[in-house]
């Protein structure tokens, strides 16, 4: 498919460096956890998780994202997707734990809402650098228990999401969904591995995407060779055993870069 034209209907400032861009059209059959390729014309095309079926939530980190931040309501960008495999929806009566760090909360928020709508009990651990960076706190809070951690202690537990996770009974949950910075995900991975909970856990990975549709091979992970853009971005904990997670990734040229 060629990029479709997405018109920005609303922009919300979530924190100084994070904005949500609502757009038209909306993806009615979104699988929460899926991503889109956002084309800022004349600049670059970058992957973004969907934070609703008609929004992306973007952290300004570089060239393309800062160009995106220059756009206003009524402007438009190109959009391909939704692509990839999302999180597994729980069934009625399941108890699920969401573990979100930083903008990792973006793809997890529609998942938490879909899980709640499916009749699951939804608990969330939400982590960020400081209180002002907590993303979608209200959306998660509306669904059930929420545990907050901040690196600087300005809200909730001072420390990381793993510090909260250590105090929870992992065995009580039927599913665990994780997205955030890779360092955070790999510490969560190790903790869940120790507690033999990888089978019910899912992680949403980030790798450098070129094609976004499973052909070029830029985003493949070791040792499985699975494609993050097509076989993921959401992988079960079991698929990631012995993988490169937390160790290295590859840059645009394919060179290994230490995490």
């Amino acid at each position: 498919m060629l990029p479709l034209n997405a018109k920005i209907t609303q922009i919300t400032e979530e924190s100084p460096a994070v904005r949500t861009f609502f757009f038209d059209p909306r993806f009615e059959d979104l699988e929460p956890g899926q991503f889109v390729m956002v084309w800022i014309r004349g600049v670059d095309e970058i992957p973004m998780g969907l934070s609703r079926n008609n929004s992306i939530t973007v952290q300004n980190v570089g060239e393309a994202t800062s160009k995106l931040f220059e756009l206003k309501e009524g402007d438009s960008f190109g959009l391909r997707g939704p692509f990839g495999k999302g999180f597994t929806l729980p069934v009625k009566g399941d108890k699920i734990l969401i573990i979100a760090g930083g903008v990792g909360a973006a793809p997890l928020s529609p998942y938490a809402e879909a899980a709640f709508a499916a009749g699951a009990e939804v608990h969330t651990i939400l982590g960020a650098r400081s209180a002002g960076d907590l993303l979608f706190e209200g959306r998660f809070e509306a669904l059930g228990n929420i545990y907050v951690s901040t690196d600087d202690g300005s809200k909730g537990v001072k420390g990381f999401v793993t510090d909260v996770l250590k105090g929870l009974d992992v065995a009580a949950y039927d599913r665990i969904a994780v997205c955030g910075p890779e360092i955070m995900m790999s510490s969560v991975f190790r903790l869940l591995e120790e507690r033999k909970a990888l089978e019910k856990a899912e992680f949403s990975l980030h790798r450098y995407f070129k094609c976004g549709i499973g052909v070029c091979g830029a985003c493949c992970i070791d040792q499985s060779g699975l494609r993050v853009c097509k076989d993921g971005p959401v992988f079960s904990g079991v698929q990631l055993i012995g993988s490169e997670l937390g160790k290295y990734s590859r840059d645009a040229s394919g060179r290994r870069v230490k995490i």
Binding site: M1, L2, P3, N5, M37, W39, R41, G42, V43, D44, E45, I46, S76, G78, R80, F209, K210, C211, G212, I213, G214, V215, C216, G217, A218, C220, I221, D222, Q223, S224, G225, L226, R227, R250, D251, A252, S253, G254, R255, R256
Partner: protein, 301 residues
């Protein structure tokens, strides 16, 4: 078992260059789970390249358009991937390489030799990398020189991958043969472009790129047909193969084996499916072996 330029293949389907070939693990997955008879790596050059900016590939109704821009970690960076693929894939691994001149081609080939690739494929055909690829591959003298330069430094088979974006592909094929090529591979992508009518911007980051998939199959079949007539060495057919029927057609045009690229979009195990389909076809039609269909169309007059 099936022999191609001395390599032993369990079936005549090969992963095309630049598709799922960035990492050793990915090449192994295509070999094991995908069932490919052999795999070709991403094209590797003398220095790291990040490639063109995105969008670098889009799907069209009739196929795919891409301008990756030869992203690669350079031969020193790729060695460990090739070593992994050689160790774990259990099929022949062909190193695709590129350079701007004969010396660079030879440098990259020699640089990858320690990982023992089973053959080299020379990319003289990428349509959208300035100074590389088709810039080399549309000049018969340069193609012959590049082929000879690599043949000089390696003692494994050398395949030369041709571009269809020339007036006469057989003159380039002949040049490769004169340079000592063990096979030619045809075709690389066909120049193409798409424009976003909402904004007027060309869609690809590189503005234009190369067409692959369904749309290019008839172009590939014709190129293979002509090369089969013109050359003594085997022709490997690539371009738009996504089913065993496509593979049989390519072989009837003269292909000794086929490569599959874009069709991994549908499923990674496309290779075993094509391999099995060819076998069943040969049985059903009573052909004693695959050689009976290679170039068959040339006899039907």
């Amino acid at each position: 078992m099936y022999t191609l330029t001395g390599l032993k293949l369990k079936n005549p389907t090969i992963l095309a260059a630049g598709v799922l070939g960035t990492t050793g693990a990915s090449l192994c997955r295509v070999a094991r789970e995908g069932g490919a008879g052999a795999v070709v790596t991403k094209s590797i050059g003398p220095a790291p390249k990040t490639g063109h900016s995105n969008p670098s590939m889009v799907r069209l109704d009739c196929g795919f358009l891409n301008a990756m821009g030869l992203p690669n970690p350079s031969y020193p960076g790729f060695l460990q991937e090739l070593v992994f693929a050689k160790k774990n894939s259990s099929v022949p691994v062909i190193a695709s390489i590129f350079g701007g001149n004969p010396a660079e081609f030879a440098e990259v080939a020699e640089g990858l030799l320690p990982s023992n690739p089973d053959a080299f494929e020379l990319n003289v055909s990428c349509p959208h990398a300035e100074g590389y690829g088709a810039a080399v591959g549309s000049n018969p003298c340069l193609v012959e020189a590049v082929t000879a330069a690599v043949k000089d430094v390696v003692n494994v088979p050398v395949w030369v991958k041709l571009t269809p974006n020339v007036a006469d592909i057989t003159s380039i094929g002949t040049a490769a043969e004169s340079g000592g090529a063990d096979a030619v591979v045809a075709i690389n992508t066909v120049k193409g472009m798409v424009i976003d009518i909402e904004s007027g911007y060309p869609v690809l980051g590189n503005r234009s790129g190369g067409l692959s998939g369904k749309a290019v199959k008839p172009v590939a079949v014709k190129c293979v047909y002509d090369l089969y007539t013109a050359l003594e060495i085997p022709v490997i057919g690539v371009g738009g193969v996504s089913s065993w029927e496509d593979a049989v057609e390519m072989m009837m045009a003269g292909a000794a084996a086929v490569q599959v690229g874009s069709a991994v979009y549908d499923r990674v195990d496309i290779f075993s499916e094509i391999g099995a389909g060819i076998e069943t076809f040969l049985e059903r039609k009573g052909y004693s072996n695959i050689k009976k269909i290679i170039g068959l169309a040339h006899e039907m007059v």
